[in-house]
């Protein structure tokens, strides 16, 4: 008994906090569900949040950890939703509308998205910062237009997804949350391994990473592929949640909304990403259900204001000291006050927050390699002995 207590002390809670959050949510929902079924609207909300989390976490691999800006994440989701959704419809004739069908469509959708991720990863080897950002944006728009025009997928009307068995749909939120767990597990395990270190090394200093023998090509591609794969998964979840899939949904506005979640969560901060994804999705849904009729117009206004205020509050240098005093962490610390024991600080406890991505293009700041001048006037500038 005693050593269980000790063991509990030993656990690196920091590593598990995300799972704990999701599991807690899951358990609460299960209890609610067991006692007379979840309301459809709650179910709806949970699913939307789950999808957002998967999307945001997967995007954070590229933006937060690889440090490249991607404006086309919804494109990968689009691929997943269309391909996965269609596959489900097709195979359901043989396999029925149960979990088997779902899983297969899940894998197929995910893989197709992953392939696209690979394709987009290739330019990423050549392009930096905004140039890559605009390529991802372009990719998203291209995918959107192609699916929107393809007769096979019902052109502008989109196509009706498979309606799974009622029992499956009622409990889909469970599967969705499990998928969230899986996404978290894979992402975190990847990041907290030598491979993750390689990826973050590329983010921090590509040249040094190369010089330390990091295979930049390989790891950039890995990051893009994994990220796209889970975006695809989110797409299949989307296709399973809604009864129709329509391309316009996956435009750059949606990509940007996902980016907002990642940035608000704090770049490379997975817990933060989860929370902000949930918050933003919740906010959107609540606003649109509360502000009906004539009030609907105010919705975006409120949303925009909240967005701006949050960002300014959480990022403005002016509020720094205030933030450090009153933030969630400080609050929790005040409650639990863990005894400061340096030996228990873990190696992985790097501070991830607020990592600038290459959007600020260090290239732009560093000047050209001016060999010409420097050779003609050897002693010009620089430190001298």
């Amino acid at each position: 008994m005693k050593n269980i207590g000790l063991a509990l002390k030993k656990i690196k809670w920091k590593h598990y906090v995300n799972y704990v959050i999701v599991l807690a949510a899951l358990i609460v929902l299960l209890i609610a569900g067991a006692s007379g079924g979840l309301k459809a609207s709650t179910n709806e909300l949970v699913l939307k949040i789950a999808i957002s989390i998967v999307l945001a976490v997967s995007l954070s691999i590229v933006v937060g950890f690889l440090g490249e800006l991607s404006l086309g994440h919804a494109g990968f989701m689009c691929v997943g939703a269309y391909i996965g959704g269609k596959v489900a419809v097709v195979i359901s004739e043989k396999l029925g509308g149960g979990i088997v069908t779902f899983l297969i469509s899940l894998i197929v959708g995910g893989l197709c998205a992953a392939v696209c991720g690979f394709v987009i990863g290739l330019p990423a080897l050549r392009l930096r910062g905004d140039y890559l950002a605009i390529v991802t944006l372009a990719f998203g728009e291209i995918v959107k237009v192609i699916f929107q025009q393809s007769k096979a997928f019902g052109a502008n009307l989109g196509f009706d997804t498979l309606r799974y068995d009622k029992s499956f749909r009622q409990n889909f939120y469970i599967i969705a949350l499990i998928l969230v767990l899986v996404t978290l597990a894979v992402t975190q395990n990847m990041i907290r391994s030598k491979h993750g270190r390689a990826i973050t090394a590329i983010r921090d200093n590509e040249i040094a990473a190369r010089a330390s023998g990091v295979d930049v090509t390989k790891y950039k591609l890995i990051a893009f592929v994994v990220s796209a794969f889970f975006a695809g998964i989110a797409g299949v979840m989307f296709a399973c949640t809604f009864s129709t899939v329509q391309a316009p949904k996956f435009g750059y506005n949606y990509s940007i909304e996902i980016l907002v979640m990642v940035v608000l969560g704090g770049m490379g901060n997975i817990t933060g990403t989860i929370l902000s994804a949930s918050l933003i999705t919740f906010l959107n849904v609540k606003l649109s259900t509360v502000l009906t009729g004539d009030l609907a117009v105010v919705k975006d206004l409120v949303y925009a204001l909240i967005l701006v205020l949050i960002v300014i509050y959480t990022n403005a240098p002016a509020f720094k000291t205030f933030r450090e005093k009153h933030n969630l962490k400080a609050f929790t610390l005040r409650i639990f006050k863990p005894k400061k024991d340096p030996s228990r600080i873990r190696d992985d406890e790097a501070k991830w927050s607020n990592i600038p991505t290459k959007i600020n293009m260090d290239e732009l700041l560093t000047v050209d390699l001016k060999v010409q001048e420097s050779v003609q006037s050897p002693d010009k500038g620089g430190k001298n002995k």
Partner: protein, 293 residues
């Protein structure tokens, strides 16, 4: 339809994109941020013209309206910069990107609250068209071309020869160094936003000259297209923005002209963009930056 008129349409759209892209690229080069609200400044400019033309469609009134819309946009640009972006000076560039998005939503929803959702026709005086041989060219098109070319030249001269312009260059090269050299970075950034917004107002005007219809989402797509154009040309480079925009405009016109392709217009444009960037990773005129090792 004949190549020449396609080209003219392309040029026309192109130079308008250029007006917007210039704003994008300058703000980017100097404030190091993507101002996603830029497109909505165009929209505001459009509505400004609409409001004042609604009073009377007379030509002098129209010129008054133009002036006012430029002023309104400039002020708006400055305010937005001061209120939303300046507090984030020194924060992660992406945080600023998000506020920009927020501001864009804000402007759009405000516009919808004020002007409602129905499309508006702005009482722009019809300038007719002149025939050059076979094809007739709208006077408005000619004006658009002339004015924007003039503006671009003026802008380039301003950047090259004026003290402030050179300060802008300095800031975009290396903000820290510029600050050390006694350049007031905040002032420069404000001026940049002012110029960018003024150009956006002009872009709005040119749109209305082509076809005087307004909705609240008026600026969204042009904004993103112009951003694309700026990147094609090489973000941060002013001539690049112009070239990129004109390239994009012409591609667009050509796509429109081929019925089979028209529905895929955006896809085609963006594919070409990707190809261009793969061939020239820093855009058409973007300076090749090599990180000093």
């Amino acid at each position: 339809m004949d190549i020449l008129s396609i080209l003219i349409n392309g040029l026309n759209v192109g130079v308008i994109y250029a007006m917007i892209a210039l704003g994008y690229t300058m703000v980017y080069g100097i404030a190091k941020m993507l101002n996603f609200a830029h497109g909505d400044i165009i929209m505001v400019g459009g509505y400004a013209i609409y409001v004042f033309c609604a009073m009377s469609g007379s030509l002098p009134m129209f010129f008054g309206a133009i002036l006012i819309s430029v002023v309104v946009c400039t002020l708006l640009g400055i305010t937005v910069e001061k209120v939303a972006y300046r507090p984030l000076r020194g924060a992660s560039p992406l945080a600023v990107l998000i506020t920009a998005i927020g501001v864009s939503y804000l402007l759009q929803s405000l516009a919808q609250i004020i002007f409602k959702s129905a499309p508006k026709r702005v009482a722009v005086p019809d300038l007719g068209k002149i025939m050059i041989g076979e094809l007739g060219i709208k006077v408005s098109t000619l004006i658009t071309l002339a004015v924007s070319v003039a503006v671009m030249i003026a802008l380039s001269c301003f950047i090259r020869y004026n003290k402030i312009g050179r300060a802008m260059l300095a800031v975009s090269e290396d903000r820290g160094a510029a600050e050390l050299m006694g350049v007031n970075v905040n002032k420069i950034i404000t001026i940049t936003f002012a110029i960018g917004s003024a150009l956006a107002a002009l872009a709005g005007l040119f749109y209305l000259l082509q076809s005087p219809y307004m909705t609240t989402t008026f600026g969204a797509m042009p904004g993103i297209k112009a951003f694309t154009a700026a990147v094609i040309g090489g973000i941060g480079s002013i001539p690049g923005a112009m070239v990129g925009s004109i390239v994009l405009g012409i591609i667009e016109a050509v796509c429109d002209a081929i019925p089979a392709v028209a529905p895929y217009k955006d896809a085609v444009e963006f594919s070409i963009l990707i190809v261009i960037l793969l061939v020239r990773p820093t855009g058409l005129l973007g300076k090749k930056r090599r990180e000093k090792v």
